[in-house]
């Protein structure tokens, strides 16, 4: 089922969580809402679910499959919601948790006890927790609990699955496993799903499309490829991966870099900077000699080689830091050592000019 929200705003007292946000989720896709905390992504998810009500506005609209659901309360929206901290009913067994939604149905539509048992059994199998039905949530690990929460949400056969940072409370290893599992599950059941996360890796890996949010607004919507390789704003560029920012210009056929920006402390610059060239670490190269006076003179400071690529941190003459990623082959070819002088040369780079900034505001 497709979801569409139009012109949604939401404030809590003085705090504006969403500012005129519009968005479309296609039928059967897995969409990720990605952004730093406070960007409004969870609020948007809760408004879709009906747990939160948007500010009154004649233009605002929430449509499920083309039908307005604004006046439909949570319990009639047929959404499955998975909470960050699981929100399992801790006085109920795993099986009772999963069957809860079915048991709460009015008598006319309530399945029989044996049907509920069958459905719960199937779901336990789906989440790979067969034989855990009689346990209590407190006897499960975090990853298991979240899978139970997912099964509980799926048990009522929702039209839409909404996941609010579902793996946020789990450790890295378990996250990775569940992420892959969730994607596989989605490919099997094709349920329209919206996943909220602040982990760009998670969003890029799992989602069909990614919505990058910042400061109560949507910055960019696109496939993981698009948002990563063709970011529309400096924020998206900086949020989705490491980035180096230089003074410089990009002309038709040439990228000219001057000094790097020194103040890299604040990670997420919201505004576009004049005359700033953005380049990801893998879009830079290092040379030992400068050809035609090109490249930024810098000193190698730190090497990080534990991984599939070599990561080199350099310090430019103005004190600004530059991160460069390269293949290990290239790294050994260059024979870099901490303290060695080198030149940073751009292979690629982009500018976000004033017109982009104008569109954003």
């Amino acid at each position: 089922m497709s979801i569409e929200v139009r012109h949604i705003s939401k404030s809590f007292g003085n705090f504006t969580a969403l500012r005129d946000v519009s968005l479309q989720v296609h039928d059967g896709e897995l969409l990720a809402l990605l952004g730093p905390s406070g960007s409004g992504k969870t609020t948007l998810l809760r408004i879709i679910s009906g747990l939160e009500v948007p500010d009154a506005n004649p233009d605002s609209e929430i449509l499920f499959h083309g039908q307005s659901v604004v006046d439909r309360p949570v319990r009639h929206r047929e959404v499955g919601f998975v909470f960050q901290h699981y929100a399992l009913f801790r006085h109920m067994t795993v099986a009772d948790n999963i069957g809860f939604g079915l048991r709460m149905r009015p008598r006319a539509t309530r399945p029989s006890k044996s049907e509920i048992r069958d459905r719960v059994g199937k779901l336990l199998k789906l989440i790979q927790l067969e034989g855990f039905g009689d346990r209590f949530p407190s006897q499960l690990s975090g990853g298991q609990r979240q899978r139970v929460a997912l099964a509980r949400a799926l048990a009522v056969e929702p039209k839409v699955l909404l996941l609010d940072e579902p793996f946020g409370a789990l450790d890295a290893k378990v996250r990775q496993g569940l992420r892959t599992w969730l994607r596989r599950l989605h490919d099997e059941i094709h349920l329209t799903s919206v996943l909220v996360t602040h982990d760009q890796e998670e969003a890029l890996e799992v989602a069909d499309r990614v919505v990058v949010m910042n400061q109560s607004r949507i910055e960019q919507i696109g496939t993981p490829d698009e948002v990563f390789h063709h970011p529309k704003t400096p924020f998206v560029m900086e949020f989705l991966g490491q980035v180096n920012v230089f003074h410089g210009r990009v002309t038709q056929d040439k990228i000219e870099l001057d000094d790097p920006f020194v103040n890299e402390a604040d990670e997420h610059h919201s505004g576009s900077r004049p005359q700033a060239v953005y380049a990801r670490p893998h879009e830079l190269d290092i040379q030992r000699e400068s050809t035609n006076g090109e490249g930024i003179a810098a000193t190698v400071r730190r090497l990080h080689l534990a991984g599939p690529i070599a990561r080199v941190l350099l310090e430019a003459e103005n004190g600004g830091h530059v991160q460069v990623h390269m293949s290990l082959e290239r790294f050994y070819e260059l024979a870099l050592q901490p303290g060695v002088a080198a030149f940073v040369v751009p292979k690629n780079g982009r500018v976000f000019d004033a017109t982009v900034a104008a569109i954003r505001d």
């Binding site: 747990l51 929206r77 499955g80 919601f81 909470f83 901290h85 009913f89 006085h91 809860f100 709460m104």
Partner: protein
Amino acid sequence: MTSSKQRMAPGRMMLPLQEPSWVRWSLTAFSCSFLILFLVVPLVVVFTEALRKGFGAYWAGITDPTAWSAIKLTVLVVGISVPLNLVFGLAASWAIAKFEFWGKSLLITLIDLPFAVSPVVSGLIFVLLFGIHGWFGTWLDAWGLQVIFAVPGVVLATVFVTFPFVAREVIPLMQEQGTEQEQAALTLGASGWQTFWYVTLPNVRWAVLYGVILCNARAMGEFGAVSVVSGHIRGKTNTIPLHVEILYNEYNFVAAFAVASLLALLALVTLVAKTLVERRIHFSTTSLEPTTVES
């Protein structure tokens, strides 16, 4: 841990957070003697005095018609006030812990009012409201209703004095548990009532029981407020504590202590029940093991 034990072995070493033994011993001795003096001795006195003239006299004291009517009245009062305050306490806790509304802090303060006001004053409030010269006195009299110096007054006073107990126990627990489970229930299609009945209530059931036990104990033992409104009519408006006072004032010590021993027994039962329930609460909030007793 083993290394710290080894370091302890030579004898005079202490754990870093332990007080010297004379401090520990004197604190323990002080607490124990205090308990014995103020709790155990009075309890023993109640029972020895009650049984001073043998079990026959004890039994006669309890089964005396006026004593019996006091017991029945107390049971009636408890039977009305405890359920009322259970309902009120749950409603108030649910509202306070799960919803945001204007005047919430005022409501929380008001719930504590009976704890802050002396029971005698509480009783007087009802006399001023419903007594024959009170605000509603004439009106009540016209309808032939008597509140003060009658059973309704005793019930009213008891309800007032005991209404914080359930709410005070349940509010903090509900607040701590937040609203996420309720939200989950709503997204799963449960109605508000189903959510309360199947999710909210089971999560606080031990705290509710704890509150009910305390409420019950206080309702049975309340003296001050009830004394003001009851009028001490023998066989009619006397509850157990009032009856004990009357017997005592009449120098009928055996009967007085016999009836008092009922309250003392209640106290003991309450203590045991309270301990068991407390363990349950502790169990269900902190332990990894779930509560296996289903409501």
